[in-house]
Amino acid sequence: MTMLFKPVILWTDSLIYLLVIVVLAFVWHVRRNEHMLAPWRRVGHSASGMAALTVLVFFIAVGLLDTVHFRPAVENNDNGNSEKVYSVEVLSLLDIIAAPLRTRVEKTYSAPFAAHLYARETIELPDGGQIREFPRLQFGGAHLQNPEAQLTADVTWRAAAGAGLGVFVWCVLVILLSASLAHRDNVGVLYTLSAIRRGATEIPWNAVLVTLVLILSLLGAALALSVHYHILGTDKVGQDVFYQSLKSIRTGLVIGTLTTLMMLPFALLLGIMAGYFRGWVDDVIQYIYTTLSSIPGVLLIAAAVLMMQVYMETHPELFDTIAARADLRLLFLCIILGVTSWTGLCRLLRGETLKLREMEYIQAAHAFGVSHWRIISRHILPNVMHIVLIATVMDFSGLVLAEAVLSYVGVGVDPSTISFGTMINAARLEMAREPMVWWALLSAFGFMFALVLSANLFADAVQDAFNPRVRTWPVKAGKPYRRKRQEEDPETKPNAATAKDVISP
């Protein structure tokens, strides 16, 4: 029996799988409880939140594809029995799907959609002379006979075709969606379509679909073009920037989610314990988090990452592949970020628990002699979960941004891990070049902005839904504060006159 690959589960992979399981279990649990569903319905009613979620779904899909790791089999012909040997290179599903992008490495920089390198090279002519010119790329636009004349038309045509395909897929989705909605509500498909268009549906499908058509047409065009071009150019070693941007997504998602996953147990346990038991327990926990939070975050992270680097350098025997090593470094970065960021949530939870423990239903539980752990698990924990949820979604975008800064400072992810931070760090040095290499920076900026902006918008929607006290968005923009009295009011209320006549002292 021969396996084509050997599955590899890196540390962060297993934690992501765990996270996916937790999220699925949570969804299942919420769906069964009407009162837990209600705030999520409010999230569902937010147009910006749902549009942001649509974008996030694509990012998450890329991230998950990039999480399924394995080592492909390499044909070993040295000894005749053709024994399977697995490559030391760890690949992910995304690497396989994007194999053309990954493998088509140019010599060095090339601009987006270019057919030539960005730098002049001395080329030996067949006649022995030398000229300096921009050589053709090995892969980018290689199918063109005469790039100068054909490039624009070819790119336009391919982009249009790809976008057209995207729009076609979108149309199919729209029809499927309205058919299923129509089936559910027992109305006509056309009626549902017009309801969606008018925004009369419960969930703002029109916002979702507008976002979707943008994404799908962009995606279609990008896919159609990326087969023949480096649509976002190549970097110094000739690697495709589009591929790097896609790979960065997973790193961002891992940092944004696993950090919270790491710190959550500590924050929950310590925060609730401090608030619930008070007394010396509270004093100790407060001391711990005041001490930790008094060290400026970046410095603590820098110190911890430096120490981790030393440890890894001096214990190279612990890691069997480069990927495993880079992955472990990523995980440690998450842990360190978690250690420095749990104090805020812990403080919030402590405050909320202090409030909750005076609630009368907790007093009633005490009057029944209910044990402390049961009170914590049944009364306090469910009533602080909204804070945890809000903190989680609010932290996400901050963590993605922090990764970039930390990688720039030099205490971020492993240099071999592709991330927004490493991309920016590499591209920054090229800003000084004349002419400037701008595309790597711009791609990192674009992808990061889309990810963080949609995360922020989604977090806003979640916060509004779960914490109605703190409104960060107006209820209804542009509504007049007070309306003047209508002139025709005797008409609207015919019994006004009678009422007036009767009541007079």
Binding site: Y287, F420, L453
Partner: protein, 325 residues
Amino acid sequence: MLNYIIRRMLYAIPILIGVNLITFTLFFVVNTPDDMARMQLGIKRVTPEAIEKWKHERGYDKPLIFSEAEQGAAKFTHTIFFEKSAAMFAFDFGQADDGRDIAYEIKARMLPSLAIALPVFLLGLVVYITFALVMAFFRATYVDFWGVVLCVALMSISSLFYIIGGQFLISKLWHLVPISGYGSGLDAGKFLVLPVIIGVISGAGASTRWYRTIFLEEMGKDYVRTARAKGLPESIVLFRHVLRNAMIPILTGAVVVIPLLFLGSLIAESFFGIPGLGSYTIDAINSQDFAVVRAMVFLGSLLYIIGLILTDISYTLVDPRIRLE
């Protein structure tokens, strides 16, 4: 009042000890000095002698906490903990890898750091509060709506891009001010304009939105309704009643960062080539100069704790409920 401040200061001591313990654990227990020497010297050149020499140069050749070999108090004083960690309480930070005195460097670099951080802080406070007030004044209108959209968009951009973009636009494209560098005296002014503007813009999204939330929360309170019931115009309600109450959380939240301004900004300083503490720290991180990083961690926490004490004092100044109790 004085009692209160003294108590706060006494409370700072165990926290500083805790910070010291954490840094000590991080720098000397997680990795032994031997590990660090091996790392610094590079795997190839490692010989026991080289390691010993490296440790001796830096004073790391002593026991960690307890010295068997010594007599009396020296059992504790001739240790790494006492000489390297406890000494920080006396601001004795030792020497950097390049042999310079860290305390001297810190003193010299504080001013340039402050020269950017302070204007950013003050200008930022004024600008953010103004914008937040405008948005609160026009709440539930399109001004507010698009203001919030802009804030969220600004929040979603990494500070690195603000710096790179600002340098590119203002210095490289328009040649208005120098890209980077630092001068002495008034000459420094032209180098500071760009970092300050960028500093203010990069913090604008989050802060403005946060202040707006505070304003709106205050505006929902009952005393605002009382003020309106007096017949006061909206501008007076906003400036006299809402602003005064909202300034309590805003000011006290801002005070905590004032001492930290001395530390400067890691990224901005290194991008703009300003010889402050931020770029000092980055250089130390990049060259893996542990002594400097350790000193900065200690200094940072000390300043933070001073910030906390200042916050408490500022509460008593702006909030009569605390002042008079």
